[in-house]
Amino acid sequence: MYQYDQYDQAMVDARVAEFSDQVARRLSGALSEEQFRPLRLKNGLYLQLHAYMLRVAIPYGTLNSRQLRKLGDIADTYDRGYGHFTTRQNIQYNWIRLEDAPAILADLASVGMHAIQTSGNCIRNTTADHFAGAAADEVADPRPYAELLRQWSTFHPEFDYLPRKFKVAIIGSATDRAAMKLHDIGIQVVINAAGEEGLRIHVGGGMGRTPMIAPVIREFLSPLQMVSYLEACLRVYNRYGRRDNKYKARIKILVHEIGADEYRRQVEEEFAHILTLGLEPPPAELDRIKAQFADPAFDPVAPGKIDLSDPDFAVWVDQNVHPHKAPGYGIVTISLKPVGGIPGDASADQIRLIADIARDHSFDEVRVTHAQNLVLPHVRRSDLYAIWQRLDAAGLASANLDLIGDIIACPGLDYCSLANARSIPLAQKISARFADGDRQRDLGELKLKISGCINACGHHHAGHIGVLGVDRKGVENYQLLFGGSEGADTSLATIIGPGFSEDGVVDAIERATGVYLAQRAAGERFLDTWRRIGATPFKEAIYG
């Protein structure tokens, strides 16, 4: 994986110094809260309901064991002994003191980490397929491009005060594990008929209050023009994106209002101009980055066959281990969704344990997924049983990946100052209702996603089952949606009908799963049955 050189390190060190100075000016009163707010947000520091929250960037969701261990230590030293992994592959600490923020940043910088641009109206941390460089179905590794984008977007002087936040995701497989088309820019690395690597560029997707699937703006872009093309995409947005209404300020609204063809025309015009300026890093820079993402030294004779006689282990392998491109290896997903737990939370001890396992068994690498789980990307199948035993002893062996218990939930009204309703207690109730592992497996792949407000941090639009918390005359109310997907078959979920109380929505979800079990055809997932039979049978069961 990518290692900082002196230049990368100097940038994060400079940021620590700058932000320490900004915090000092705030604490002395030289900066008002109004002046400080946009500055602290660019460093991922939010003032939430109870305390400051710090969001730490995990570029394209990739960590080494030293970095992960440091995240555990920070949870112990500055928070309440746990951290929360987010739908943007980052980690958040919910109980931070403003005075401690500079020290935390210095700790992060000591392992090449930071909180740069994890909030604010700027280019956010780039996300990527969490199986990048490991997946059996990968066409090309998206991480070198993600790293090039990290560098290009870091402190970009022209695009630091955009109309609204800006999120980029990149994948390199036909299977979309990053909700790529639901981002401001979604990039897919593709190979053309001539065998050349290129980038397919989607612009104008997003969730939030106006969910949209991004149209393709460029079918095939040379990777050696990526920076120039994105400069053009961003410049058109910075100049013409709406600033009169923050709810209409995302690029999806601009692309929708002027149309994809007109947006494309403007971008191409700007791109032609930008190509004359020499802004593109040379091929040698992309080669330098690519070399750092070379495969680790896989054992070519690693055995693939393993002893599955322990039934609990066998279930976990079946559910949580994915095919790896190297024979004899697997990709392990560590579920952070135990029955009744808080989705995405991990204790400091759990975090350090996973760091140890990554060091011992996964070439020192860990990934964070947008579904709020952790991944050991390169594991010998013959090590799986030992790993499973260590995880199980720490409450980390839930065999529920992509099942109804693998719930995505935003922090909701328990923490977030934007929320209208609580997400976490609802997730815990649903998880408890469907606690039986056999029942979950019988229901099959079922992605359930909960947002505590219309901003959709919990991706409810992309849920096979989505739940949106709203405030109805001062009472928390939950709307139920069906039919969303963030995969290659991206679709937006639709609201089924009137909302529910917290207990009511759990009952409604259970009735919907009953409809699926009664009506499914062979091999159909919940989503497939919904798409085939439509809303009526579900409405009848839920409201009838």
Partner: protein
């Protein structure tokens, strides 16, 4: 406003009347122009040879359109003074400078020492812009 003016140029400041962008049609000999955030900087390209001052107004520092306006003017060869005017704060100075501004007229005065420190925020930079600095990728590959 003049008493808050910070210039990073050696030439004398323009004393010409500053024409609002909206009034340019009736002032084809203008040498000093003021752009508001919604004004199209590219409309000034035919006048670049005669302009000696372009003021770019930031009514609030979170409206970043002026960064693109400035950079576009420099990319097309404008060499006169480019002045950021309005809600211009210490924490934005580095970015202003990187996108081509060489003068600042902030609503609130900024001390010379604070300006020097702000412009030195980043030891190196990742992007090539119009400030002449070699980006990190160029330093890496000579």
């Amino acid at each position: 406003m003049a008493d808050t003016l910070i210039r990073l140029r050696d030439d004398a400041a323009s004393t010409a009347p500053v024409i609002a962008f909206a009034d340019l049609a009736g002032a084809s000999n203008a040498v000093a122009v003021r752009l508001m955030p919604g004004d199209d900087a590219r409309a000034l390209l035919p006048l670049l040879g005669q302009l000696e001052l372009v003021e770019v107004v930031f009514p609030g520092f979170t409206d970043g359109r002026g960064y693109s306006a400035a950079r576009i003017l420099r990319e097309y060869g404008y060499a006169g003074e480019l002045r950021a005017v309005g809600d211009v704060g210490i924490d934005q100075l580095s970015h202003y400078h990187r996108t081509g501004f060489d003068a600042f007229a902030p609503d609130q005065p900024i001390a010379a020492e604070a300006v020097r420190k702000a412009l030195a925020t980043w030891p190196q930079v990742y992007q090539r812009t119009v400030d002449g600095r070699a980006p990190i990728w160029a330093l890496r590959h000579g």
